[in-house]
């Protein structure tokens, strides 16, 4: 059963549940962050509307900088603005930023330790018909290897909204990945969010269980549905929402491993270098535990519908279920 303390949407497993994209949640959050703090500025590389930066740009045109199709310029200009006391948000698609401009982010934002927030939309194969060129699957790996960088992957629009407000209050670099598609609104206004804190969304906080599923991003919904199916089969699962990939909430992960002794990670990203890798790096040292990984297996995406692609690339509910069976057999 879903965890009551996390105040999730009461319609979570019904048809009444609302679907909103995480980019939309970010756009509304940025508008609010702009209202609260005049240091917040937005930079865009010709993708203002499709990254939901339009709400901010229309409300605060004097705090909006359009750099054109130039992602290297996008982040280096943002670095300069950070040096003058601004809290710059730099929007684009994740394949371009942080894809195209990684070194500029490394040197001028992370090494410089400027409070620039990189916002990469259109992650994962669920971008759909645009195809493999536009489906970012490597961004977590790129960003989490950088010192000083925080990496956030919100599970739904409400969490993206809260994460945006939280990022705007920090004076260090951050990256947030967003999705194009409308996805289930699992959380509510009352669900807590704190950078660096994982939250249990399914199962009881105390006591043993048969498996621990750690998910990041909107695929978390599939993990919750799988946990429900498992419950019908009398298999107890706990599901952790790991929306901050860096810094990693080691305490919560170690506790889950302790309670379940079998972990499945779920993310819409390459298995290599992603959230699952971060969890594995941690557990290998602190509490070696059998693990299975749901993610893209060293491949590029392709055109299709989001749902078709998630199935094709083995990130569907059936795939999570199989991974649970495999990892439990390895206990």
């Amino acid at each position: 059963m879903k965890d009551e303390t996390s105040n999730l949407n009461k319609d979570i497993f019904t048809d009444r549940m609302e679907h909103v994209s995480t980019r939309e949640g970010y756009g509304k959050g940025l508008l609010e962050a702009g209202e609260r703090d005049e240091r917040v500025v937005l930079l865009s590389a010709d993708l203002t509307g499709s990254t939901a930066g339009n709400y901010f740009a229309e409300r605060f045109p004097e705090r909006f900088v359009q750099v054109g199709v130039a992602e290297q310029n996008l982040v280096t200009v943002a670095s300069g603005m950070g040096a003058m006391g601004k809290i710059p948000f730099a929007n684009s698609y994740a394949v371009f930023s942080p894809g195209r401009n990684w070194e500029q982010i490394r040197t001028t934002i992370c090494y410089n330790n400027q409070p620039v927030k990189i916002i990469g939309s259109h992650v994962g194969v669920s971008v759909g018909p645009d195809g493999g060129t536009h489906q970012a699957l490597e961004d977590i790996a790129l960003m989490r290897s950088l010192p000083n960088m925080t990496v956030i992957s919100p599970c739904d629009a409400k969490e993206a909204y809260k994460a945006t407000l939280a990022m705007a209050k920090t004076d260090t670099p951050a990256y947030m990945r967003l999705t194009r598609d409308k996805t289930p609104m699992m959380t509510t206004d009352d669900t807590d969010f704190e950078i660096g804190k994982a939250m249990l969304f399914y199962g009881e906080a105390v006591g043993k269980a048969d498996v621990g599923i750690i998910a990041t991003g909107p695929l978390l919904y599939r993990a919750l549905k799988v946990a429900r199916v498992l419950e019908e089969k009398a298999i107890k699962a706990k599901v952790l929402n790991l929306s901050t990939v860096k810094p990693l909430d080691g305490e919560a992960i170690a506790e889950l491993a302790e309670q379940t002794e079998a972990i499945v990670t779920v993310e819409e990203h390459q298995k290599m270098g992603g959230m699952g890798s971060a969890v594995a790096e941690f557990l290998a040292v602190h509490r070696p535990t059998p693990m299975e990984f749901i993610g893209v297996d060293d491949a590029f995406g392709e055109s299709g519908k989001a749902e078709e692609l998630l199935e094709k690339f083995k990130m569907g509910e059936g795939d999570i279920l199989s991974a649970v069976e495999r990892v439990m057999a390895r206990k």
């Binding site: 500025v41 004097e62 705090r63 900088v65 750099v67 054109g68 130039a70 290297q72 310029n73 280096t76 200009v77 943002a78 670095s79 300069g80 603005m81 950070g82 040096a83 003058m84 006391g85 601004k86 710059p88 070194e103 500029q104 040197t107 001028t108 090494y111 410089n112 330790n113």
Partner: protein
Amino acid sequence: MSTLTEKEIYELEKSANRIRKHIIRMLTEARSGHTAGSLGMADVFTVLYLKVLNHRPNEPLWEKRDRVVLSNGHICPVLYATMTEAGYFPEEELMTLRKLGSRLQGHPHREHLPGIETTSGPLGCGLSQIAGMAIADRMNHGDSSERYFYCLLSDGELNSGNIWEAGMLVAKERLANVIAVVDRNNIQIDGFTQDIMPLEPLKEKWESWGWSTVEIDGHDIGHITEAFMRAKLEKEKPSMIIAKTIPGKGVSEFEGKYEWHGKVPDEEQGKKALEELDGIDEEIERGK
């Protein structure tokens, strides 16, 4: 238009030569680094830091200071040596260049040394950072800002697309308080710029998209001062100063040779170089 007196020119030339000697000593001690560009830009740095900048070396984070970004961070020996000449930190510290624990990193790092506005080294990123600083400053203060934003570039790094992205943005935003200087020394690591990636007509390129552009002798203290002063008076457009310099300037063995881009003098070469620079000192004393 240069308002410098003969005495001022004399003092600046003496400073520039002292800076060159510091560079030789630092690089000989460090055993690695970039010689040619550092020596070549000594005159521009001298004028900028000792005559042009509105700054407080004993209060490097003074809020109203002009901002300087050295985009081609590899010539930081000239930056560090000029900073000691301006009073940012004691001369003795120069000998720590590139050593463990030094504030003088092999390429400048903001968090190591106050007075460094941004970390640099990977080429092509400086102009866009200065653009961001100037845009933010205009958001903060409108036209009442008295700050200038200086960016020092190499000609080799103009190969990089990031520079041209920034050039377009600065022109679009009409950032008239941005003043950039290109060290036009015609060399880069692999050879002469003309062979690696031709840049000419460089002046026309910058002019064509709205930069006020001049070419000057980058070793003439009067010319350099005049170019900066004119750029500061320009109220409509950003300014680009193409400073024609001789790489390795001051040491005949290094002058004009791209091989000295990333090479340092050994002890014997260093000693000879310092003797030659002592000779230049005497020439300056005699009034040439």
